[in-house]
Amino acid sequence: MSSILRVKDLKAYYETSSGKVVRAVDGVSFSVLRNEIFGIAGESGCGKSTLALAITRLLRPPGYIADGEIFFDNINLLKLKSEELRRIRWRRISYIPQSSMNALNPVLRIKNQIIDVIKEHEKIKNEEAGRLEGYIKELLASVGLSPQVANMFPHELSGGMRQRAIIAMAIALRPELLIADEPTTALDVVVQRGILQLLSEIRGKYGTSIMLITHDMAVHAEIVDRLAIMYAGKIVEIGDVRSIFKDPLHPYTQVLIKSIPSVEEKRRLAGIKGLPPDLKSPPPGCRFHPRCPYKSRLCETAEPPLREVRAGRYVACHLYGGISG
């Protein structure tokens, strides 16, 4: 399968007022395949939202891309001028930021907000406006909303309905890649399930690749195909979701999976001692070593590279693949 997105050694930093640099995303590489749901997991502050902002080129000062390459369908996104970027956004790459359901314009009807997106990117003649209304109703139906919703204002909709309206907007121009950052986090579980199933359906129906960012490991287990785990600005493990859950390799991934409570069995949950590092001055060597139960001397000095240790399984840990300098 070919990839739709390739990220190579991406570094996205923030400048702070004290002059120190926060290395939020620090040398991250991965690809998203066509027709794939690719998950990014990690806890708050690990850099997963910054990664989405960097890929969509929406990172604003004091944030900046320090280094790396981002290829979307063989176009180097970091080389594009703003007009070229505009032609790609919404039409080829859509982005649903965190809490975007609360960012709908409160004084515009849902249909007008969708029309604005479409008109911004497609030339629509006035006589086609009627056809557009029909398309919007079809679009709303595809996310399970009644055509009446088109004429409603955001405050008349529940959180789950607003999130579906946002998804309708995001897929209005049939993008090839949809990046969704915590799309279900503030929603009730039943609505969350509906939204996740909707995302799977969109992939199935339109072949859209989806990059799903969430801290919730159980959500990843439900819908993603492959998963990347981030810790302190780095990807520590990538693999297909099944093998990551059955046989997590990185010690951080192992604890992350052990710390998920389950409604099915009451076993003692493991937490991790200590806190994630300050990204202004991350520890030398492996960034997880101060909290790692298996750390050795090497881990304190040498940073483990992300290596393929089995087919399709990448891990950045000295425990695997022997010692390398």
Partner: protein, 324 residues
Amino acid sequence: MGSFLLEVRNLTKIFTTGFLKKSRVVAVDDVSFTLPAEKPIVFTIAGESGSGKTTIARLVLGFIKPDRGSIMYDGKDIWEMSAEEWKRYRREVQAIFQDPYGSFNPLHKVDDVFWIPIKRFHLTEDREEAEELIAKSLESVGLRSEEVLGKYPHQLSGGQRQRLMLARAFLIRPRLIVADEPVSMIDASLRANILNLMLSLRDKLKVSYIYITHDLSTAHYVSDEIMILYKGSITEMGDISKVISNPIHPYVRILLESIPIPDPDRRWKDKIVLPKIEEYSGDRITHGCKFFNRCPVKTEQCLKGTPALTEVERNHWVAFFNVK
């Protein structure tokens, strides 16, 4: 009736909103539950947003007055307490909220969260003894004094702030902690530590909890008993393992089936259909079961009256018409 630590009977709270207060929302609708006095338990109140769970917390804490029903603490109605009794109540019943940041004064050092109750409840008059108390309570939640004292709230992580609130609770030695979504903003790897801490305080200090959450997985982990609300009414309650392993109310079943399972080999098989449009106040059920519109097994009977709580097995209650 000294056998209950907390006894809530027929609690009802109605909010009126809109022009001329025309629109009425029954946020809490005839809710009764008890916490035993003889042994500390974690009692979970679970439900979706708008289910009334936080309103119950605010009622129990005495922030708002019920429209009907009563909250008895140690056999005494909290709204009929003398000043002395009320002061004791405020000491013995402590609250922990979702966003620990909101519980701190951002302009003051975090030390205040200890010094204020020490003075207010006259825990000690001796400064050295007070400092020792603070150090001990910090230790009990796994914090080192030098890590946190003398700092401002923004200099601490969310997990540290939440542990500080637990340390404060430890210091005051309450009998009941009302914890409203205490871990929902905390990362999974630290969440386990906080939940384990809650359990150890229950066992060591004999503290009972009302644990308010939307998350049935953490509820299952920490609770002894659970009450699941839907639009202000109890749908199912009782022993947590019975409710989770043998759910009977159709709402509780849907809720449990919708929790993502952290196992990629056991994904959801069937598809859930979300409502196409919001239920309007016009369609709002005024008689009968509130879950009627969404219920997959409804019958005509469900609109005739409100289903009463029935005990289906020992300490497992359901408000459902078709209990077999």
